[in-house]
Amino acid sequence: MIELNALTKRFGPVTAVDELSFTVRPGRVTGFLGPNGAGKTTTMRLILGLDVPTSGTALVGGRRYRQLIRPLRQVGSLLDATAVHGARTAYDHLLSVAVSNGIRRGRVREVLELAGLESVAAKRIGGFSLGMKHRLGIAAALLGEPPVLMFDEPVNGLDADGVRWVRQLLRQLAADGHTVLVSSHLMTEMALTADHLIVIGRGKLLADAPTQSLTRSSARADVLVRSPRASELAGLLTGRGAGVTPEHDGGLAVTGMDAPAIADLAAAHGIAVHELVPRRPSLEQAYLDLTAESTEYRAATTVAGAEAGS
């Protein structure tokens, strides 16, 4: 379990993490989302005791990371897969990490096998591809068989095979009862992997909810209606208090009434309905809505038609 309590980190005038409070629970994959520069990595560094918070606390299993004895047996983490010494072999790198926390040497072979790196164990890391470095970093995180795992953008730069491997591994770890926190700036990736989402923007908490409910709670849910007598139907709908927005192609985007109610109303007036589609915004859209205010580096022009997506 990871508990953040009003965690704050300032770098000079910049507040990177702003009064952040949330709890990451075991048994599920918790996605940690936010645009680039939202403070995800800084938050993880604070949890790991690499940076000292300006105020507030981050606890792992009820204790501050810096107070943990043999911390790799409690928390496994991967922040940056490329942060390795290229001259060392994969085996030696893992061995050094293992002995630092009194982890038995046999465990090194086990995690190499788990990560599919047995064949390159004696090779120097300098020659590894990014995908192999990711596997090595994840192997290192799993060395101490810790109950809590934390990965920063673990699928960044991976090929399809690597992405699938990471995804399955995360799901398996959560199913085994681990606490799994995974950061990403890609909503689509998290939609496939995470059971629960924590969304931050500019260091502030924007959402802390199950992945499912994040789409439902979005204000963008509506019903697309197409009818040969669209304007007549629109009048009837607004008369019942529904919100109606005509779309470019003649369709009506209706809010405030669900599909059966719209169908009944049309039938009662003998109006033919050619299309009736309840639309739930994609997670991507829900995410964009949440973070729109807080995007640190916004493109100068927004992509035309992004609104009509989903």
């Binding site: 940076d51 810096r66 004895i69 043999r70 911390p71 047996r73 940056d80 390795v84 009194g102």
Partner: protein, 272 residues
């Protein structure tokens, strides 16, 4: 700290000794698993022995008998050593921290051992230990090599003479003192080029600067630098105007102690 099994099913708290062993093993595996460290030590050994032999050869073929012959004969053993062995070993020591900072590996290190003083102590023990062993081995090799070349001309000294074993041991320690000073500076500065420059300035630069100072200051200030102090501890007839061999030894301990203390304060308060 005693080992007590906690009720939450977590592993028993390991003793302080076990945790110290962990940290030493961590740094030892890292030191021995990077090939460049062996190459550096090999370069240090080859260059040191070669230069020492050259100096001894030149000295042996000089006909004039110099005043304080024993002094010069002993000091001759360590000329190549002090001038050339110190540089590669200091660079190796600097890299123990700077290579981790530049690759980002330092974050793995601090995640594995969150107590930063423990990381510093582990690195100091392993790097300092390696430098001490290398220093003593080289000191004795250089001593025996030089004296073998000089004794043919009846100008050598023997290990049995009073003060000689201490001087040879002290010479070996010089390498360790330089390495630990460099290690501390590497931790503070983090970047390799700057840290190497600072280490060489501390180890050699200050002494070189003192040599060009006017007379009273040359030794008044110079005696607190490492090369002057090193000369005093290996010379059998210490030069007046410098510190005594005992106080010079203290100077050789104070430099790395100060560097490591500053390093500990800096890395434990700085974000990694």
């Amino acid at each position: 700290m005693t080992a007590v099994a906690s009720r939450t099913g977590q592993p028993a708290v390991p003793s302080l000794a076990a945790r110290a062993r962990d940290v030493l093993a961590f740094e030892w595996v890292k030191l021995r698993s990077a090939r460049s460290n062996y190459v550096t030590l090999l370069i240090a050994a080859v260059v040191t022995i070669a230069v020492t032999a050259l100096v001894a050869h030149t000295f042996a073929s000089t006909r004039a008998s110099l005043p304080g012959g024993a002094n010069t004969a002993l000091a001759t053993s360590f000329l190549g050593y002090a001038e050339y062995g110190v540089i590669p070993v200091s660079v190796l020591a600097v890299l123990q921290f700077t290579s981790e900072y530049t690759t980002g590996l330092i974050r793995t290190t601090f995640c594995a051992v969150p107590r930063r003083w423990a990381v510093l102590a582990g690195k100091a023990a392993v790097t300092g230990g390696a430098a001490l062993v290398a220093g003593e081995v080289l000191a004795f090799i250089c001593f025996f090599l030089t004296q073998a070349m000089l004794s043919g001309r009846h100008r050598g000294v023997s290990l049995a003479q009073p003060g000689v074993p201490g001087a040879v041991l002290a010479a070996g320690f010089v390498l360790c003192a330089c390495a630990l000073t460099a290690l501390g500076l590497g931790a503070i500065i983090r970047r390799t080029p700057g840290a190497i420059t600072a280490a060489l300035a501390a180890i050699y630069g200050l002494a070189a600067l003192c040599l060009v100072l006017p007379a009273p200051w040359k030794y008044d200030v110079g005696r607190f630098t490492m090369p002057f102090a090193a000369f005093q501890v290996v010379a059998m007839h210490p030069q007046p105007g410098l510190l005594s061999p005992a106080l010079s030894m203290l100077v050789l301990v104070a430099w790395p102690a100060a560097a490591l203390l500053a390093a500990g304060l800096v890395i434990s308060s700085r974000d990694a």
